[in-house]
Structure formats: structure tokens, C-alpha cells
Assembly symmetry: C2
Homo-oligomer: 204 residues x 2
Amino acid sequence: MTEAGRGRDGAAADGGKAPAPGRRRDAARSRELLVQAAMELFADRGFERTTTREIGERAGVDPALIARYFGSKMQLYLAAVRVEQGDAVPADLLDEDRLRGLLERFDRRGPGPSFQAAVLPSDNTEVQQAARGHLDERLVQPLCDRFAAEQVDRPRLRAELAAAAFAGVVLARSSGAFGELAEAEPGELLPLLHDLLAASRPAR
Amino acid sequence: MTEAGRGRDGAAADGGKAPAPGRRRDAARSRELLVQAAMELFADRGFERTTTREIGERAGVDPALIARYFGSKMQLYLAAVRVEQGDAVPADLLDEDRLRGLLERFDRRGPGPSFQAAVLPSDNTEVQQAARGHLDERLVQPLCDRFAAEQVDRPRLRAELAAAAFAGVVLARSSGAFGELAEAEPGELLPLLHDLLAASRPAR
DNA sequence: CGAGTATGTCATCATCTGAAGACATCGTCT
DNA sequence: AGACGATGTCTTCAGATGATGACATACTCG
């Protein structure tokens, strides 16, 4: 069981209604742990192959609380995507520094669940809608705007192409399907990937 | 591919005479139908979300025959990948004509199951091994050889990168996650994709 | 024709999974 | 202190799924 120091007095100390961080019973904390575990597992194994029991185990929280706090596994997924969306800065795939940031972050935390949704067919419209929205807002749209500003033809198509290619690379890297790709340091990969994505814009 | 003489099926394999096409009972035909249906469904919905009952329904064959003829759902998957592998020509991602062929083919039949395996983590080593082997043999290795012959640095990494990007684009296209990408004609997409993949080789 | 086997059909099992509910424990407020 | 709601734990349910085996039917061969 998750055991994070007792400190029942800490709870009493704070004047506000907000529960103290060390509380033994803290719904907000449980929700957070669940979302975090869900984000990792969904990204790592996909939606279907992740069970609520696994999520609960990793989070150190009883799986029944998923139903209580989120309603269902799917709504937990949506919550995870929203969190992933929340702490993400809009990325510019063509900017090498931004790209480096993305790569390093994925090395640490893995790509979010939405990347899989971009690439996998899903009959679950809600799930796919949320993930698509996230990707579109974060990756495609900025790129599309940039292309449009540069008066490149077919900006949207080019942006989607680059995003899809990027998703493929990132996912393949974390899936371990390709040996060298998975093991390459971000430093070695970065220039190659940058050149690749830069080619989504016509050569000047 | 359809039948590779099995031990116990002496009657069907005898005399080298293939069963008549109109036969009401034809194990080879049933196997073929199952593999075909499985290939489509696995590619379309992934391994986990495809049920043996669905496969049987689409094939017009009783799902119990999956167990009889292949042993298990997973071995059916392996059989499907082998068939996909069998009728595939090694593709050259940098050659525009070959690329066109691939795109058109995927438009008709969808990418095979192995593309998903490239991008999805799987705890099922057997399944993933088979799919990875297929991709490697068909996409990565030829490209790698080509790069090596051209004395490009890091040929393997570059080849894997290009293959991953290609997988991402093809999967995203068939998943429908990106609107314009999914709807674009192969003709419009081809030059853009070709330029993109060509950038896996350093500019000359 | 008739036996024997290959093939197909059906019912069923064991397991897993998401979800729901009963009950227990904790924290707060009066 | 005591009541009441919030939070957590455990059990259980209903449905789905992969797999299995018994039985039925068709084909081949003597």
C-alpha cells in the first residue's frame, strides 16, 4: 500500500480546506497517482492491454477507486490525455532545440498515450477524438500555421505528414522494434531526425 | 502457401491433386480464408482487439477451426505475418516508383499487421519477433545495405529511422487520425513522402 | 455400398476484465 | 465526544474471450 508518512497533525495545521500533502486519506492524491500510473501504462502497453488492476497496482491505489473517481477506465484515459495535454508546450517539430526537448522528455517519460492513438485505429470515438485533439493542437496546428505563413503549398498535409513521421519514430523508438533506433542517444538521433522532418518543407 | 502438407492429412495431400474449388469441405480453403480475414482484422484493429469470433465471422468459418488448424490465435497471427511476408517484394523506400507501389497497395489492402508491431510495445515476444523480422527484412535491411554501399555514416540508424517514419505515416493514414493525410490521393502524397524519406540520407 | 477419416458445428469451460456494491476506516465539524 | 461524510478495501457480478471436446456431416477409398 502506498504509505506516505502519517502526519495527521499536518492536516490539522493548515487552515484552508485543501488537504495536506501527507494525509493518509487524500482523494486528490489518489486521483493523481492513478492518472500518472495510467499515463505510463497506457503509453507503454496501449489502452486495451492495460487493465484497471495493473493501474491500481502501479499507483498503489485500489482499482475500485478508478470507477469511483473517474467513472470508468475510458474516462481515466481521457483524464490522462488531458494531463498530458496540460503540461505540454506546443512543440515545433522543425526547431532543433524544441525537438531535442521533446526527445529527451520522451526518453524519460515515454511518449504519451495520444501518440499511439494517432497511429492505431480505434473504434472508440471518444478516446480517439481526445487524443487526436491533443496531437493536433500540440504538433500539427503550429506546424501548419508556420507553413501557411511561409506560403508553402498544402500546409496542412505537410504538417500532418511530419507529425505522423515523428510519431512513428518516437513510438518505434520506445517500442524497441528497431535496435539502433531504440538505443541511439538523443544526441545522435537529433540531427538525423531534424533533417528528416525538415524535409516536410519544400527545399528553398 | 495455402497448404504445406501436414502430417495427418494424408487424404488431402495424396496424389498431388488439389481439392476441387467447389468442395464443400476443404481444410486448405478454410485455412486460407482464416488467414486472409485475420490479416485484415489484425491490421485494422490490432492483435488484442481482434477476437477469434470476429475472424471466424469475416472468414465465414467457424472460429473453432482456428484452434484446430493453427493451434491458437497467436499462431494464426504468425501465419498471417508469414503470408504477408511471402507475397511482399522487398521495398526500396527511397525509390519513388516502389514507394508508389507500396502506397497504392496499402490503399487497397491496408498495411499489414507487422506495421503495428513496429510501433506498439508488446510483451508477446513471439508475435513481435515475427513482425519485426518481417519489417527488417523487407524495409530496413535493403535500405541499410544501400546506405552502406553509398558509404553513408550510421547506415543502420538511418534506415531504421526512415522505416519508422514510413510506418508512422502509413499507419496514421489508415487510422484516419489526420484528416488530410488520410484523404490525400497517393499521387499528392507521394512526392512529399518521397522527399521526406529521402532526407534520411544526408544531402549531397 | 459401407467403413473410416477429414472436416465442420455446437455447446461449454476457465479465465480475465471492467464495474458495482457492501462494508470498514478515517477526518472533520459541531 | 459524537455524528456524518469522505475515503479506502474487499468481494462479487456479468460479460467477453480464447480454447476445448463431443458430436454431426461429408468425402474418400476399399
